[in-house]
């Protein structure tokens, strides 16, 4: 077990900056998730930590050891690759014991460790099979087992669940978390799936174009995104972004555009003083909108009208697309609220949970 520190790490491939000014301090035993869209540099960051790519600038520490010039085999890490990278010519036992044989463990001990780990992962009966004779989920477990038997200081996972079907993915997610509870090994986990990041990470690192946008606990990122990008990336369906103008009237603040005029809560009004009469972007999550007829207690100045356009029933909830003027808005509503497609209805916005972003910098104002 170990802490991992990245200090001003940079990596370029020719002119492409894959990772820029990467600063991250990972605590001992922490489960940290790197998340971001395809090509944002997640895999590169992981490979830099593993030593599979050479850093262009900066320092990486594993434990208190500077590992910049230490080859991967001596970094005491174990990596699980996206497509598992199992050796097709070795059986499950051979794959799992690969790292131990290299360390010259006695045969008996290897046997004990491999068997114990295989049983832990529920693949104890598959030890003699070749990878081609395994299902995706089983291969995934073997790859995991191969990493676990090494008892490394740090686990590195590169989208280990992305090849599995949705159901298996959910199950493996829970298993991985359970495993982490037991082993308490520092884990750096890469995914492009914000849902996976939210459910698994002690902390989440949101990346974009090689830059870290925000590092925080999942709930904090959800509630306090630092900019429009993070706000839109975390949460599904995504936050609604509505261009509007901030206006002061009777010493109250309103967000106004052609379709609505919504009052800013007084505790937040002060923060936005500088933006009066300026264009801003209102961000409100689909779950923070409701039909007026379903709410008892509301501020009448947070109501707007819109026509119902599409209703997607999901059982637990309905995803409702509504339109007013140029605003096209998505809401998550209770399925028992009856809404007629094409009809105009009244909706309430939870302005206490809404965000406002600077139109130019896209930074969060509140």
């Amino acid at each position: 077990m170990a802490e991992v520190h990245l200090k001003n790490v940079n990596k370029n491939f020719g002119k492409v900056m894959a990772v820029k000014n990467f600063n991250l301090d990972i605590k001992d035993g922490e489960f940290i998730v790197l998340v971001g869209p395809s090509g944002c540099g997640k895999t590169t960051a992981l490979r830099l930590i593993a030593g599979l790519e050479e850093i262009a600038a900066g320092d990486i520490y594993i434990g208190d050891k500077l590992v910049n010039d230490i080859p991967p085999k001596n970094r005491d890490i174990a990596m699980v690759f996206q497509n598992y990278a199992l050796y097709p010519h070795m059986n499950v036992y051979g794959n799992m014991s690969f790292g131990l044989k290299l360390r010259k463990f006695p045969k008996k001990e290897i046997n004990t460790i491999v068997n114990r780990t295989a049983n832990l992962l529920g693949i104890g009966s598959l030890l003699n099979r070749k990878p081609k004779e395994l299902s995706g989920g089983q291969r995934q477990r073997v790859a995991l087992g191969r990493a676990i038997v090494r008892d490394p200081k740090v686990f590195l996972f590169d989208e280990p669940l992305s090849n599995l079907d949705a159901k298996l993915r959910t199950a493996m997610r829970a298993e991985l978390l359970d495993l982490h509870q037991r082993l308490k090994t520092t884990t750096i986990y890469v995914t492009h799936d914000q849902m996976e990041a939210m459910t698994m990470g002690d902390r989440i690192v949101v990346m974009k174009d090689g830059l870290i946008q925000q590092v925080d606990a999942p709930q904090n990122i959800y509630e306090h995104p630092v900019n429009k990008y993070v706000a839109g990336f975390i949460g599904s369906p995504s936050m609604n972004f509505l261009p509007c103008k901030l206006i002061e009237k009777d010493s109250k603040m309103y967000l106004v555009n052609k379709g609505f005029s919504l009052r800013v809560p007084s505790n937040k009004a002060r923060i936005s003083k500088d933006y009066v009469n300026k264009e801003v972007i209102l961000g409100i999550r689909p779950e923070h909108l409701n039909a007026k007829k379903a709410v008892r207690d509301y501020d009448p100045e947070t109501i707007f009208t819109a026509s119902v356009w599409v209703v997607e029933p999901l059982g637990l909830e309905n995803i409702v697309h509504i339109k007013n003027e140029k605003n096209s808005i998505i809401c998550r509503l209770d399925p028992h609220i009856i809404l007629k497609i094409g009809q105009t209805d009244e909706f309430v916005a939870r302005m206490d949970l809404a965000h406002v972003f600077d139109k130019e910098t896209e930074k969060t104002i509140f």
Binding site: L52, P72, F98, G99, L156
Partner: protein, 250 residues
Amino acid sequence: MNRLKFGWGILPVAIFLAIWEGVSRLNLIPGHFFFPPLSTVMQEFYYLIANGVLTDNFLRSLVRVLIGFSAGSVAGIGMGIMMGYKKTVNKALYPIISLLYPIPALGWLPILMLWVGIGEILPIMIIFICSFFPVIYNTITGIESVDKKLIKAAKTLGASDRHILYTVILPLALPNIFTGLRLEAGMAWRVIIAAEMVAIPTGIGALLMRAESLIRVDIIIVCLMVLSAMCFLFERFFLCLELKLTQKWR
């Protein structure tokens, strides 16, 4: 399963041989002197073995193929591994090999005749060249086609470069290496016969040429049958070896 397939493969051959025998027996083609029936050929086959002519020439060809082919493949695999594995070696040698590779083995014959003369060295060198270049190519291809992720995974699992070569790269390159060996094993026989026909006074190829000058079609056919059988057996041998080594995981 394999045996069954082999059994069914015999059938068309048997039918072909029967038609051959029938057509020439019934004198359906004029000038049957040039088209002896199977039975005559088999008789001659037996006779040539009995008086030692066939055995003697066959053994000479066999020894040449075995020595030339083994030396050529061992050198080819060794050099292929070095080139596939070490980028610098590859950069240094690849251009030269690319230039020499297209020259057919028999193309070397005239210059080698002048350099080494017409002795036992000549056919062995021809076979060496015939096996060496293709085997190098297949070995390099095999090594380069190994999934880079598997190599990276081995690095993170603590393997040294040398260990990765032996436990990951070579086993995974085997199928390609064997493809090279298999094709060249048959090719070696074709080339040795051709070389013996042109330049060397002993061996199956030379026997072929002598039979031609004696207008002995039966002997020619015996020689061709031996050639065909040897190509087949050599290729089969490597195919079986390859399957044995790799079919469990491929």
